[in-house]
């Protein structure tokens, strides 16, 4: 490349991180598979794979952050990252859509059908006689036994308030960054992370309540399945988001990001808001209605 000026696109070095990531992920997943097949070595392999995955992810991101701090990325590269993050979040939205789809399908179609709705009268009388359609339900076989539902206005309402507030504090931090005011930037981030952690604590408490006192489990029919899969994957995303925010906080403390260039910050902010919006969907359709 002869005319490699200020404005030319940055093509990164060859890198071993991708292949290491593939090896790590494969170790993790083969380990998990073996664990599910009750092969003893599976568990160790899975945790080794997990540790490797996290380590190489850290290294890969570290490389990118260092390159960014050395000014190797121009505006066009920045825009590529933005498009990348935008479409990644879109793919995450579609992942949740699959589980929301399962929830709506069960509530609107399959449970009423088992109860004999529409033209499905014989389904009810011949296969599941005596089952009355309702929501929530653990199905005609009453899988998991008697249970109580998770009300919306206890912990879930508090969690909603926590996450919505964290969206506000993150925006305060963002404005601090844009206007070059470090104080709102740092404390906004700290508040957001704390609110995220508090959310996770409440969620853990809620799961404990569900298992210990409500007999509401993953095995509690389709209600338990949709409840724990949706809130579980959401909780996983909040955890990842909180970790990413923490990384951003450390980067801020080290003086990374300028009012002009701060893709890393914005990417994590987008992600956090996405997690927020998913929660609103959960609160309305899983807990409330």
């Amino acid at each position: 490349m002869s005319s490699h000026g200020e404005n030319s696109y940055y093509i990164p070095h060859g890198s071993y991180w991708p292949i290491f990531m593939s090896v790590s992920l494969t170790t993790l997943l083969v380990g998990f598979s073996l664990l599910l097949n009750e092969v003893p070595v599976g568990q160790i392999m899975m945790f080794v794979g997990l540790a490797m995955t996290l380590f190489f992810m850290f290294q890969w991101f570290r490389t990118v952050v260092l390159e960014s701090e050395h000014g190797t990325y121009n505006e066009q590269v920045d825009l590529s990252f933005r498009w990348g993050m935008f479409w990644f979040i879109f793919s995450e939205v579609m992942f949740f859509a699959a589980f929301f789809g399962a929830l709506y399908y069960a509530r609107i179609l399959s449970v009423p059908w088992i109860g004999g709705a529409g033209s499905e009268l014989t389904t009810n009388t011949q296969l599941w006689a005596g089952f009355e359609s309702m929501w929530p339900t653990n199905g005609p076989a009453e899988l998991g036994g008697d249970y109580k539902i998770m009300g919306a206005w206890g912990l879930p309402a508090i969690n909603t308030a926590l996450l919505l507030t964290s969206g506000v504090t993150l925006t305060i931090a963002h404005h601090g960054l844009l206007e070059n005011h470090r104080k709102p930037l740092i404390w906004g981030l700290v508040a957001t992370i704390l609110l995220g952690v508090l959310f996770m604590a409440c969620q853990a408490l809620e799961y404990y309540e569900a298992y210990a006192h409500l007999n509401l489990k993953l095995s509690t029919g389709v209600y338990g399945s949709t409840f724990f899969m949706l809130t579980g994957f959401h909780g996983m995303h909040v955890t990842i988001g909180a970790i990413m925010l923490t990384v951003i906080l450390f980067r801020v403390l080290r003086g990374h990001f300028t009012p002009e260039q701060h893709f890393g910050f914005e990417a994590v902010a987008w992600y956090w808001h996405f997690v927020d919006v998913v929660w609103l969907g959960l609160f309305i359709f899983v807990y409330w209605l």
Partner: protein
């Protein structure tokens, strides 16, 4: 790390393994994808040979019924996720940056990772052949409750699909970012070559649907191992729910397997007809319409499952609507050829073959779209004939056309035209011998995915088997031609084909590792 050292790598000459494992160059990664795809094409093809050997005559002769079902399942998974999709991604890697005047893909390291997940994912998938309980045998659509009876292979299959999904999503994000952000100045959206357009829309479909597949197979996993009841009526779920979620992914997926082929053919036909493509913008809008419709037709795969009547009607009519934009495309290709000064080099032969035989597959698709008729065709060999017509002389022929069309650009050598023509005619004769009889046995009621059949289907099955062996052997010729061209041959000119137009033909053949460092200006 200073900016100066950052630039050094353009002059690096890493060793073999380091080059191919760590590469961030779109041309190298494109080559990796294409070679991997060729390998998987033969692995999946070998499985097809097992299937056809067993079906050569009635009765059970070569394999156990369970293994037969593993073969149909694995053949599909490997051909879809291992052969056709990586081939298109490889073509996207090689061609999109050159076609839009960009220096590389937008996210080169991610690009490397997208490829290097695949060998691991397919090693995991293929390893299930050697596991207690055998490879998955419930069909590539993985319907519960049948698929939940898979043995130790089950989690390996699920996770390999997750890995393939990660690879596809990351690859597609890269394609979208490249197209939106790496175009040369003046290359407005409606000046983009059609291969770029079709891939932009394909990438969108992939990003929208692969996560849904990931969700669906995750629910299968938890249903089997973690006592959830998404797909069990006893717990309030429904096995049919899986089919809905699966085909919400699955139908856009079949357009993922064909839209880039539309793009390829839209480059080749104008070149050899020596006329600009007829109706460029209608091609773009037709592609977008097909993509939109692909999201609202999925349940036509499930007409016999017991849907409410409104569902049957809605999905029947929406499916038939797809014939409109697809028809626009076919008419445009024909209009492009109309009164052109045509020559029939191998890529053009494959492209014309594509137009004719893909259209045949499209017509049988229309027959299947008619819900009451589908009750007769469902799960018969008629369906097998239909989707193999759109995927083999459709998608695969287009990929081969692309191979012959751009190989001279990539390698700097012309392929052997005589052998290329032999390859085309052998493939065309044998592919029809293989799949055309399947229409007849299907209409007569022969079910798919069964290793044995009634005596009256014997002749057509024997014909199909002979055709498939011939088709399989003909593809060895393709591999030979490709490697012969890589190793040497007549020097290719920069433009390669007399009528070729587009930025990639302005570059030397073969192009240097880094092209369009300084973006060209498009008038």
């Amino acid at each position: 790390m200073s900016t100066a050292t950052v630039d050094d790598h353009h002059d690096e000459h890493p060793g073999f393994f380091k080059r191919w494992i760590t590469t961030t160059n779109h041309k190298d990664i494109g080559t990796l994808y294409l070679l991997f795809s060729l390998l998987m094409f033969f692995v999946g093809g070998a499985m097809a040979m097992v299937i056809r050997a067993e079906l050569y005559i009635p009765g059970l002769q070569w394999v156990e019924p369970g293994f037969f079902n593993s073969m149909t399942t694995m053949h599909a998974l490997i051909m879809i996720f291992g052969a056709v999709m990586p081939a298109f991604t490889g073509l996207a890697n090689w061609l999109i940056p050159m076609m839009v005047g960009g220096c590389d893909m937008a996210l080169p390291r991610l690009n490397n990772w997208s490829f290097w997940i695949l060998p691991f994912a397919f090693t995991m998938l293929l390893s299930t052949l050697f596991m207690p309980g055998g490879a998955p045998a419930g069909g590539w659509t993985m319907y519960p409750p049948l698929v939940l009876q898979t043995g130790n292979a089950f989690p390996f299959v699920i996770f390999s699909i997750h890995l393939m999904g990660i690879s596809s999503i990351m690859g597609s994000i890269n394609v979208v970012a490249t197209i939106l952000n790496m175009r040369a100045p003046g290359m407005t959206l409606l000046k983009m070559p059609l291969f770029v357009w079709t891939w932009l829309i394909t990438a969108y479909l992939l990003i929208a649907t692969m996560p849904v597949l990931a969700g669906a197979v995750t629910m299968l996993l938890t249903d089997k191992y973690f006592a959830t009841s998404f797909f069990s009526a006893a717990g309030g779920g429904d096995p049919v729910m899986f089919q809905h979620i699966f085909w919400f992914f699955g139908h856009p997926e079949v357009y993922i397997l064909i839209l880039p082929a539309f793009g390829i053919v839209s480059h080749i036909i104008p070149t050899f007809a020596r006329k600009p493509l007829f109706g460029y913008s209608s091609m773009v809008y037709a592609t977008a319409s097909i993509a939109f419709l692909s999201f609202i037709v999925w349940a036509h795969h499930m007409f016999t499952v017991g849907m409410p009547l409104v569902g049957e009607l809605f999905f029947m009519f929406s499916t038939m609507l797809i014939a409109v934009p697809t028809g626009v495309k076919v008419f445009n290709w024909i209009a492009t050829m109309w009164r052109g000064s045509m020559t029939f080099e191998t890529p053009m032969l494959f492209a014309v073959g594509f137009v004719i035989m893909f259209t045949l597959g499209g017509f049988s698709g229309l027959m299947l779209a008619i819900a009451p008729a589908d009750f007769q065709y469902h799960d018969t060999y008629f369906v097998v004939a239909h989707f193999h017509y759109v995927l083999v002389p459709g998608a695969v022929f287009a990929i081969m056309a692309a191979g012959y069309f751009w190989l001279p650009k990539w390698t700097g050598h012309m392929y052997n035209e005589t052998l290329g023509k032999w390859h085309f005619w052998l493939s065309t004769i044998f592919v029809n011998l293989t799949f055309f009889p399947m229409h007849f046995v299907g209409l007569a009621g022969m079910p798919r995915r069964i290793p044995d059949y009634s005596l009256q289907f014997t002749e057509f099955n024997t014909m199909a088997s002979i055709g498939s062996f011939g088709f399989g052997l003909s593809q060895l010729l393709f591999a030979f031609i490709v490697f012969q061209t890589i190793r040497g041959g007549k020097k290719a000119t920069d433009q390669v084909w007399e009528g070729a137009e587009g930025l990639e033909w302005t570059l030397p053949s073969p192009p240097p590792a880094h092209t369009f460092d300084v973006p060209p200006v498009i008038k």
